[in-house]
């Protein structure tokens, strides 16, 4: 009996390797025979209010429109709460509160005291880290593993890092006396809701600016929880204002004459609209926009590590990552091996309940984003690329998408040119360094890139030639408060994080 099974397995192995015309690559074993028992993170300690108002001038206030909109859990499609929709009057109120706070307290406060407030916010996020992680997962659909280990700690660390800059700014800008800009209007996306709020608020406060922040309409809850922390921290009223709403609310902020600075993270399309909107004004603008990063695998790369890097590069956070390694370039001589390993690995990824600690890929953030992803899948198929998707079970409700890869992709295909913002990988091959440099840079974007090779000098040849703001060599999707992040070309301008992140909020 055991002999028979072994034979059958061996037979199957041969036929599959003949099919893929590859060298005999041993199939990787990921213990797929094991069933994972459900390991859901408890959400019972989470208390969400039935309704959230706008956080203006240190208080939660009702929107002047009286309108609210629902925010749902994308994994269950169930209502979590409802949040206020800010209109022009609310935006005006928030901007005036920020201006008043800037003039009355924040600019005048000794920098070391400013620092202590920011430190305090960081500490309070750490104290309530578990709560933030669960809410982030409930509201946005990302896996609890990521919100617990990445989003929330990085957000707290970001505040901690920039707190320390507040009274050291003159060291950051040699021969200059940096001054705050005034009121910063900040618009953030739904893929890293709390982390993006931290990326925006922390450097703005450290440099002495006051803030009006608008979180994305599908993920407002952690920003509003942050507002609670800000209230508890005793930060002077009006220094940080958080208003919720849709794109129109954001547009009102951008166009408000009382705003001195706009910081936007989101799509390139909206980024261009904002750049046009502030044209002719003296508003300072930084943009962190889309990407279509190349992840390049050379034949001398440690392939098993590279495969993990590819997986992390594109399927991290359901692929809702502006710096996702969505274009994979594999050197021809290892293409079959890499593809085989990649397919094996994809089959093991668990898609499902984001609160389950075993889940690798959570829920797609919204129905509309799922529609966009599905649209691109159809486009990819129509353009002639070969489609491959894992076959795991999906929950009955909620917005889910199994990991996808396309092979036989042409440089001109839309799935190789346009940002999809989902778990869709487009794979191309190359022969020489020159060829892959040319192909990797042949995109209007320039946010990030990945290079995998064992050869140090080749790494630096490649990283130097990538026209992209962040380049990961033999790793991917790593973030740190000390590390500047931001794009070349149509991926935007300005940096967030590190010393360089300060200049977005200062005048010299």
């Amino acid at each position: 009996m055991p002999v028979k099974t072994k034979k059958a397995a061996a037979k199957k192995e041969v036929s599959s390797s003949q099919n893929s015309k590859s060298m005999a690559v041993p199939k990787l074993k990921f213990n797929t025979g094991w069933e994972y028992a459900p390991a859901p993170e408890s959400a019972s300690h989470i208390k969400l209010k039935d309704r959230y108002d706008l956080f203006i001038n240190g208080k939660f206030v009702k929107p002047s429109s009286g309108k609210y909109f629902e925010t749902i859990n994308p994994a269950t499609e169930q209502r979590l709460s409802e949040v206020a929709e800010a209109n022009a009057a609310d935006v005006d109120k928030a901007v005036k509160a920020a201006r008043n706070a800037s003039d009355r307290y924040w600019k005048k406060m000794p920098a070391k005291e400013r620092a202590k407030y920011i430190y305090r916010i960081s500490r309070m996020i750490q104290e309530r880290a578990r709560e933030f992680a669960v809410i982030e997962t409930l509201d946005g659909g990302k896996t609890i593993r990521e919100s617990r280990d990445i989003d929330v700690p990085l957000a707290a660390n970001h505040f901690f890092y920039y707190a320390g800059w507040a009274d050291k700014l003159e060291y950051a800008f040699p021969n200059r006396n940096p001054q705050p800009l005034g009121v910063a209007g900040q618009i953030i996306p739904w893929n890293f809701p709390l982390l993006m709020a931290a990326w925006k608020i922390a450097p703005a406060l450290a440099t002495g600016n006051t803030v009006v922040l608008k979180p994305a309409e599908t993920t407002p809850l952690t920003a509003l929880k942050l507002a609670e922390i800000i209230q508890e921290s005793g930060l002077p009223e009006g220094v940080v204002n958080i208003i919720t709403g849709f794109g129109e609310t954001g547009a009102m902020m951008v166009n408000h004459p009382g705003v001195d600075k706009i910081a936007f993270t989101g799509s390139t399309e909206v980024g261009k609209i904002i750049q046009r909107a502030v044209a002719g004004t003296d508003k300072k603008l930084t943009l962190e926009l889309g990407g279509k990063a190349a992840n390049i695998i050379f034949d001398d790369a440690p392939l098993d590590q590279a495969v993990e890097g590819i997986i992390n590069g594109i399927y991290f956070n359901q692929g809702h990552v502006c710096c996702a390694g969505s274009r994979l370039f594999v050197q021809e001589s290892v293409y079959n091996t890499v593809l085989r390993k990649l397919k094996d690995r994809i089959k093991t990824l668990i898609v499902g309940d984001p609160l389950d600690k075993n889940t690798d890929i959570g829920a797609i953030n919204s129905r509309s984003q799922l529609d966009i992803i599905n649209k691109y899948i159809e486009i990819g198929k129509k353009e002639g690329a070969e489609f491959f998707q894992s076959g795991c079970n999906l929950p009955n409700k909620g917005f889910f998408c199994r990991p996808i890869l396309f092979t036989n992709v042409a440089q001109s295909n839309r799935i190789a040119q346009e940002e999809i913002f989902g778990p869709v990988l487009a794979i191309q091959t190359f022969r020489t360094d020159e060829e892959v440099i040319e192909k990797a840079n042949n995109t209007p974007y320039g946010l990030s890139a990945g290079v995998w090779t064992d050869k140090g000098s080749k790494i630096f040849n490649l990283t130097t030639k990538m026209r992209a703001g962040v380049v990961w060599a033999n790793t991917y999707n790593k973030f740190d408060p000390t590390s500047p992040f931001g794009g070349y070309k149509e991926s935007g301008y300005g940096r967030e994080g590190g010393l360089h992140g300060l200049s977005a909020y200062t005048t010299l």
């Binding site: 660390n157 040699p174 200059r176 390139t268 980024g271 261009k272 609209i273 750049q275 046009r276 502030v278 044209a279 002719g280 943009l287 926009l289 209007p444 790494i459 990283t463 130097t464 990538m466 026209r467 992209a468 703001g469 962040v470 380049v471 990961w472 060599a473 033999n474 790793t475 790593k478 740190d480 000390t482 590390s483 500047p484 992040f485 931001g486 070349y488 070309k489 149509e490 991926s491 935007g492 301008y493 940096r495 590190g498 010393l499 360089h500 010299l508």
Partner: protein, 338 residues
């Protein structure tokens, strides 16, 4: 057709007329006598001065504008100084092609080498001081001011030459990330930069705009002062004899009103620098610049003679910060390696 009409529309006729006027203006400055019919009168056996044709500078060459158009540069008395190319958008597009193809090589030059080349430009300018002073004077700049402008321009080039291999050390960082990675950020050139030079300080402004752009490894297309265009072309000759590879600096003469829009909307230009105070031009550049998310840098009311006129932060205006990550192996299960 009426003969007068033919005369009126005959471009050759117009050129002859203007050349005669120009010669008259030059006569004052160079003691040459020219008769009514345009033929030199050998008053005192003086040789006839050879006039320079002011052409534009694209890809290391001096072509005329492809459009064949020109405008007349005059001084404040209305005296004609030269026929200057009225560059077209096609000239600009050609210049962008030249700048783009030169970018790869220029950015790849050793920073030290770029410094030497900028220093070389200063050397060449020093040797031709007199010519620039004379040209500035002919364009209504007082003698003292002209001297000051030329000397400051030379010093400015030396200043930026020194920055070529230093700004990276001031503005680059090694970032102490919390994970086991080596992480560093360095400035890199943004690419092709289109710049509109200041109107008043036609040499110093031009130098002050070009130097930080190329010091940082970018290539550029610069629109010279519209009202005082002469020095820009003479400066192109200086650049052309300074080991600056063709296409790194391209200089056009023409109208801001005509070319600004082209600068902002060209899809292969990465950044636009505007030196001026016209709110409409600024708005136009910023609006159209959004087409491909250009970096739009505006220098308003800058006194180019002062300390305000030079800054390593101007280099940073057309730089991108690139951050590189690489894992660090932790031998022996981590801990101190000492």
């Amino acid at each position: 057709m009426d003969f007068r009409l033919i005369q009126h529309f005959n471009p050759f006729f117009t050129v002859v007329k203007q050349n005669r006027n120009m010669a008259k203006a030059l006569e004052k400055n160079s003691n040459i006598t020219i008769s009514e019919n345009g033929i030199e009168q050998p008053v005192s056996n003086k040789r006839l001065e050879v006039l320079k044709t002011y052409k534009i500078y694209i890809g290391g060459q001096f072509p005329r504008t492809e459009s064949g158009r020109y405008y007349v540069a005059t001084n404040s008395k209305g005296e004609q100084l030269a026929n200057v190319c009225l560059s077209s958008r096609k000239d600009f597009r050609d210049a962008v092609v030249a700048a783009r193809s030169a970018f790869k090589g220029w950015a790849a030059r050793a920073a030290f080498n770029r410094g030497q080349i900028l220093y070389r430009i200063a050397e060449m300018l020093e040797g031709r001081k007199a010519q620039f002073i004379e040209e500035l004077i002919s364009q209504d700049v007082s003698k003292a001011q002209a001297q000051k402008e030329v000397l400051t321009s030379i010093d400015r080039l030396i200043w930026y030459a020194g920055w070529c291999d230093k700004f990276q050390q001031i503005f680059g960082t090694v970032n102490p990330v919390a994970s086991s990675h080596f992480n560093f950020s360095v400035p890199e050139p943004t690419g092709v930069v289109a710049a509109i030079a200041p109107q008043d300080t036609s040499l110093l402004g031009l130098v002050s705009v070009i130097a930080p752009i190329i010091a940082g490894g970018n290539t550029c297309i610069v629109l010279a002062s519209e009202s005082k265009p002469l020095c820009s072309i003479t400066f192109a000759e200086v650049i052309n004899s300074s080991d600056v590879p063709g296409g790194v600096v391209n200089i056009l003469t023409g109208r801001v009103s005509e070319l600004a829009t082209q600068f902002a909307s060209h899809m292969d230009v990465n950044a636009v620098v505007y030196c001026g105070e016209d709110a409409n031009v600024q708005k136009d550049l910023q609006t159209k610049g959004a087409t491909n998310v250009k970096r739009v840098i505006v220098h308003k009311n800058i006194n180019w003679f002062g300390e305000q006129g030079q800054s390593p932060y101007f280099i940073l205006d057309t730089e991108e910060i690139k951050t590189t990550w690489h894992p660090i192996e932790s031998i022996g299960g981590g801990g101190g390696g000492y």
